[in-house]
């Protein structure tokens, strides 16, 4: 019911409303409709600004996606139909862009050589090669130069023997009339342009970078080279020693005569095998997957990492489940007094945020100053986190500390839900304690806890936080893989991907992500069937 409508009807001195459906009553839906209009206006404004900016930076995929999303949003919210979609669209948009797309994109990247040295398309690689091979033309004159701007556009004004010429990255140099120069020949006034003071160059790092990277073509013909400056005061003509032949797909070094040919692997390769540093992204089939198992530097460590991932996940679930169940059985006893207090103490680690636990234990297990060594091992220098096996043990120990309370809670709840009559009957039938546990308690308990155990396994399989916060995957394996003996698959992927800096290999990292997805998918599928089976008990 709408309060507004009711109020309108009851207000004295007003005409009574005609008896139409409240849904059509303008007073009833009025403010809701205006809120919707307002929200849609904001969304359209945001969408259009993204579209404009996508056109600006020539991001065609993003442009296409945002146009489609905006049109869909407008259609869905301004038609009378598509009721379910009105409710689901916001969630669906986020789901598609940030979950389903990323999953799919992982699948695509896994089959490419995307990474350091292979980041753009072929044209970008050619441009990079041309710029890289750019040198100042020997014995060329240097022109007095001033940096000029028009809004956001930065350009150069040079004094070519008394004639001032202005150009930007897009527009080649062209003479201007009415410019003034000072005694040293530097342009001081250029009609249509604002001179950027030299002090701005010193104080603004971004501007400095822009100026140093700015290349103003001398003429429409790229062969003529371009004006560049090092310090913003004088400019000189730079020419590339590389020549690009689009028909033959070759780059030729005009100085040495070397011909670099575009190869199928996304590189420019000379006959003698030398390669230009910048390549481009190409699909490489199953190369990444193959590399994961055959590359001599990588295959061994990756196999160990995989084994440890399984061991870590399985052992974590077994130990914490086991300990939690044990404690739950011991203290699920009416005769123990103060059970509530005991229970609260037991589950305190669960209330401490997991990532802080890992960091806290990292300090506690420190070799020289850690409290564990100091108090419990008489000040010995046990290298808990630096030794291969001790580090693995430490990780399991810490994970046990922070996850047994969960199982303690779950098992306590499940035990209390078991029917006392069944146990009574078993006792009367003469079943011993062990027999009761094995044949009655455990199977009944498994019905409710098995799905949680499998979920816990899947969670720990990708438990990046505890591994990275406690040991960062170390101690490192010998060799160049960069991986360590406590790395699990996801932390190995993190290191290989190079998203945190260093050499990036998005292709290989994505291929490994796909493998993790397959494993997790299989486990989930098996778990799904298994829980059905268990329920039949």
């Amino acid at each position: 019911m709408s309060k507004d409508a009711a109020a309108a009807v009851n207000r004295p001195g007003q005409h009574p409303e005609p008896r139409v459906s409240h849904a059509r009553n303008l007073h009833g839906m009025g403010w809701g409709f205006f809120v919707k209009l307002l929200v849609m206006a904001v969304i359209n404004a945001l969408g259009i600004s993204i579209i404009m900016s996508a056109i600006n930076v020539e991001a065609w995929v993003i442009l296409g996606a945002s146009v489609v999303l905006l049109v869909v949003a407008d259609v869905v919210y301004f038609t009378k139909r598509a009721m379910p979609l009105k409710y689901m669209l916001p969630g669906l948009v986020f789901l598609f862009v940030f979950q389903i797309f990323t999953l799919g994109y992982t699948g695509y990247v896994a089959f490419t050589n995307y990474g350091t040295g292979h980041a753009g398309n072929e044209q970008q690689a050619v441009d990079a090669a041309l710029i890289q091979a750019e040198h100042r033309v020997p014995d060329s004159v240097s022109y007095p130069l001033a940096v000029v701007r028009d809004g956001d556009t930065i350009g150069f004004a040079i004094n070519d023997d008394g004639f001032v010429e202005v150009g930007t990255a897009e527009d080649p140099l062209a003479p201007v009339n009415g410019a003034a120069v000072d005694a040293s020949g530097t342009p001081t006034e250029v009609p249509g342009w604002e001179i950027v003071p030299r002090s701005d160059l010193f104080s603004d790092q971004d501007l400095q970078d822009t100026v140093v990277n700015l290349r103003v073509p001398v003429s429409d013909d790229a062969e003529d080279g371009s004006i560049r400056t090092r310090e913003g005061q004088t400019g000189a003509i730079y020419k590339s020693t590389m020549e690009w032949d689009p028909d033959a797909q070759t780059l030729t070094d005009t100085e040495t005569g070397t011909v670099y040919e575009a190869s199928a692997s996304g590189n420019f390769v000379a006959e003698d095998g030398t390669m230009l540093p910048t390549g481009w992204v190409v699909t490489v089939g199953f190369d990444n997957f193959q590399r994961a198992v055959t590359d001599t530097a990588l295959a061994g460590p990756l196999l160990e990492v995989t084994l440890w991932t399984f061991a870590f996940a399985i052992l974590t679930v077994l130990t914490s489940f086991g300990l939690g169940l044990l404690f739950a059985m011991i203290y699920n006893d009416q005769r123990v007094k103060g059970r509530k207090f005991i229970r609260t103490l037991f589950i305190l680690p669960y209330a401490f945020p997991a990532f802080m636990s890992a960091l806290l234990w990292r300090g506690m297990l420190n070799k020289e100053f850690g409290v564990i060594n100091d108090l419990f091992f008489f000040g010995a220098d046990i290298n808990w986190l630096g030794d291969e096996w001790l580090a693995r043990f430490a990780i399991l120990w810490v994970n046990l500390w922070l996850s047994y309370p969960y199982w303690f809670l779950v098992c306590t709840g499940a035990l209390q839900a078991l029917s006392g009559e069944t146990m009574e009957a078993a006792k009367i039938d003469g079943a011993g304690r062990w027999r009761q546990f094995r044949s009655i308690t455990l199977p009944l308990l498994m019905v409710s806890t098995a799905p949680l155990a499998i979920a816990s396994f899947a969670f720990n399989f990708n438990n990046f936080t505890i591994i990275y916060m406690l040991t960062e995957g170390g101690p490192a394996f010998p060799g160049t893989s960069g991986l360590g003996s406590t790395d699990i698959l996801i932390s190995a992927i993190y290191k290989i991907s190079g998203v945190s800096g260093g050499v990036a290999d998005y292709g290989l990292a994505s291929a490994l992500s796909i493998i993790v997805f397959v494993i997790v998918g299989i486990i989930s599928a098996v778990a799904f069937r298994q829980t059905r089976k268990l329920e039949e008990i």
Binding site: Y87, W401, S448
Partner: protein, 295 residues
């Protein structure tokens, strides 16, 4: 302990020894377990109160009491991180609740083409954790950042969007079941009384499902609070970091000298969580088992 049991057994052979064998031993054991559970927490409190603020000497528990570390927090970006964490976690919680509830309502109340496949797809999608696809999340945000910096790397808004991408898969099922438990006759009655779709949803259904909204909000907040890998990839500069990223940085660089800061920060950040947890203990225990134990 066994020695003690034997002694007691000699003194009064029947009832006393049976009590020890059946119940009594559980108390000393409880003390041992409680020590295992609590020692790290006591230690972090002691380290936060120590004057030196380094790892060296932090093993002498409560040897000095000073609030120097807590004061020093003010000179760092710690409180900025707390603010960032609250912003990211809060926005994620609100967004997840709004979007999840709307989707669950649609699945529960409307019959439309693609409803069952939609539910199945959600079930399958949520099996694949977003965190494993972090490489493409990084690449996507890098590309988006060129178009709209607010959606790019080093933006909290981008991180919230990434978290919200996982919201529908994780929460719709939880809410779907709860929405189904509210009789359909209620909204039909409201419809006959002339309520609009929006009125039924906002004024009738939402108040009835408040408990599940609170649960989903809490879950979303906790997962945003605890997430490390995505936050570390997305948030680059120290003034944008969340607590997880910032405190990791403290401990990973110069663990020894930042230890007091870390300990004080950990106490400050975990106290509200601890208090909330203890206050809600009854519900959390119930909630954990409610999902798992079948009638």
């Amino acid at each position: 302990m066994s020695e003690q049991t034997v002694k007691v057994a000699r003194r009064s052979p029947t009832r006393r020894s049976r009590w020890w064998a059946e119940v009594g031993w559980k108390y000393p054991l409880a003390a041992i377990i409680a020590f295992y559970a609590i020692f790290p927490l006591v230690y972090v409190l002691s380290a936060s109160l120590s004057e030196s603020g380094t790892l060296t000497g932090s093993s002498n528990l409560f040897s000095d009491i000073s609030f120097a570390n807590y004061q020093a927090l003010g000179e760092t970006t710690f409180w900025t991180w707390v603010g960032n964490t609250l912003i990211v976690g809060g926005a994620t919680a609100v967004g997840a609740v709004l979007m999840g509830a709307a989707a669950a309502y649609a699945f529960s109340r409307f019959r439309f083409k693609g409803r069952r496949p939609g539910l199945t797809t959600l079930l399958i999608v949520q099996m694949f954790p977003q965190t494993v696809a972090f490489v493409s999340v990084f690449l996507l945000l890098t590309a988006l950042g060129n178009v709209a910096p607010a959606l790019g790397i080093n933006s909290k808004i981008a991180l919230i969007c990434v978290y919200l991408g996982g919201a529908l898969g994780a929460n719709t099922f939880l809410m779907y079941g709860f929405f189904n438990s509210i009789p359909k006759e209620m909204d039909e009655a409201a419809k006959i009384d002339g309520a609009t779709h929006a009125q039924i949803y906002w004024r009738l259904i939402m108040p009835l499902v408040t408990p599940i909204l609170a649960v989903v909000a809490l879950l979303a907040f906790i997962s945003a609070f605890g997430d490390f890998i995505l936050a570390k990839i997305v948030l680059v500069s120290p003034d944008q970091w969340t607590l997880a990223v910032g405190m990791y940085q403290w401990v990973s660089n110069q663990l020894t000298s930042n230890w007091g800061l870390f300990a004080a920060g950990a106490v400050v950040a975990s106290l509200p969580v601890l208090a909330l947890f203890l206050a809600l203990q009854k519900y959390i225990v119930g909630g954990l088992t409610a999902g798992s134990v079948k009638g």
